[in-house]
């Protein structure tokens, strides 16, 4: 299906963006985008439990913990 290829390309693009971005908050947002698209792919693979867990934990709590840690340290990667 064409939409699965588009979603996978978007997920890999977000991953590559997390590599190249120098602003760490933007890199964390890219990581959250990877988690979001992965949660959608989990649902398409007929695994609703795992999709719920990935959405709540990966795109929610993990991002929050990263942002708190970046606030306590530096924001830009030199």
């Amino acid at each position: 299906m064409i939409y699965i290829s588009l979603l996978t390309v978007a997920m890999l693009g977000a991953g590559v963006a997390a590599y190249f971005l120098k602003d760490l908050i933007a890199a964390v947002v890219a990581c959250a985008a990877v988690s979001l698209i992965a949660s959608l792919l989990f649902y398409l693979l007929q695994a609703p439990d795992v999709a719920m867990a990935e959405a709540a934990i990966g795109a929610g709590l993990s991002t929050a913990v990263f942002v708190i840690a970046i606030r306590k340290t530096e924001r830009y990667e030199k």
């Binding site: 609703p48 439990d49 719920m52 929610g60 929050a64 913990v65 306590k72």
Partner: protein, 228 residues
């Protein structure tokens, strides 16, 4: 330089992975043990969600190990961040919409999380997802209310009691069924709330434990304003 070398080495590894994955055809029926779990899961455990019957009945010892790992991680975070200098720049007070919205949404999100872990044996969900949703509710309160702080003792007491409940139910299983974590309560009828034996009790314990732990981790990382 390191990036180029890393890229070359990883391309080799990715090529090897791709060759070996091409021998694993996508979407082919390979189940052997899982076929037994699918066919006998509903009659052995009484749970309608078959993933729950695998997590909390057939492989319950692995879930105990996971609960232990999460406990140690939460312990580590609390231990590392316990001694910190004060005055690290707390967050500014939130705007009116965030304050009022978080006060309104907090009990609703708690009820939603409790619904998820109570119905873990009937619908997709369970203790881990419900616990994560409850921890998100606490995170919303931290972001919305300026002076909100979560005191450490009730959280750690909840977490320890919930973990203890899990182990005690398992030990009662030895007396009642013959092996650790056996399903000794009556199975009930499929698709009703009070069914599946001991599984709802275990999931409630896991829901409380994971919720308290993840909220404790967020509170410990926020620092002196987040916990007292």
């Amino acid at each position: 330089m390191k990036a180029v070398l890393g890229f070359a080495a990883l391309s080799l590894i990715a090529a090897v992975l791709a060759i070996s994955l091409s021998q694993v055809p996508f979407g082919v029926d390979r189940m052997e043990v899982a076929r037994y779990y699918l066919e006998n899961g509903a009659s052995d455990t009484g749970a309608a969600n078959l993933v729950t019957s695998v997590v909390l009945n057939y492989r319950a010892l692995d879930t105990l190990g996971e609960v232990t790992v999460l406990f140690i991680a939460s312990l580590g975070v609390g231990a590392f961040l316990a001694l910190r200098r004060r005055g690290e720049g707390s967050l500014p007070p939130a705007s009116l919409i965030v304050r009022r919205g978080s006060q309104f949404l907090f009990p609703l999100i708690l009820i939603f999380g409790a619904y998820i872990f109570l119905h873990g044996h009937l619908t997709p969900g369970g203790g881990f997802q419900g616990g994560a949703v409850i921890a998100s509710a606490f995170l919303l309160m931290f972001l919305g209310q300026y002076e909100y702080s979560l005191s450490h003792r009730p959280l750690s007491i909840t977490e320890s009691l919930a973990g203890l409940t899990f182990v005690i139910v398992g030990l009662i299983g030895i007396a009642a069924g013959g092996y650790f974590l056996s399903n000794f309560l009556p199975k009930g009828s499929l698709l009703s709330l009070f069914s599946a034996g001991v599984i709802p009790i275990l999931y409630v314990a896991i829901g409380f434990k994971v919720g308290a732990e993840l909220a404790g981790i967020v509170a410990a990382m926020l620092g002196p304003r987040g916990e007292e």
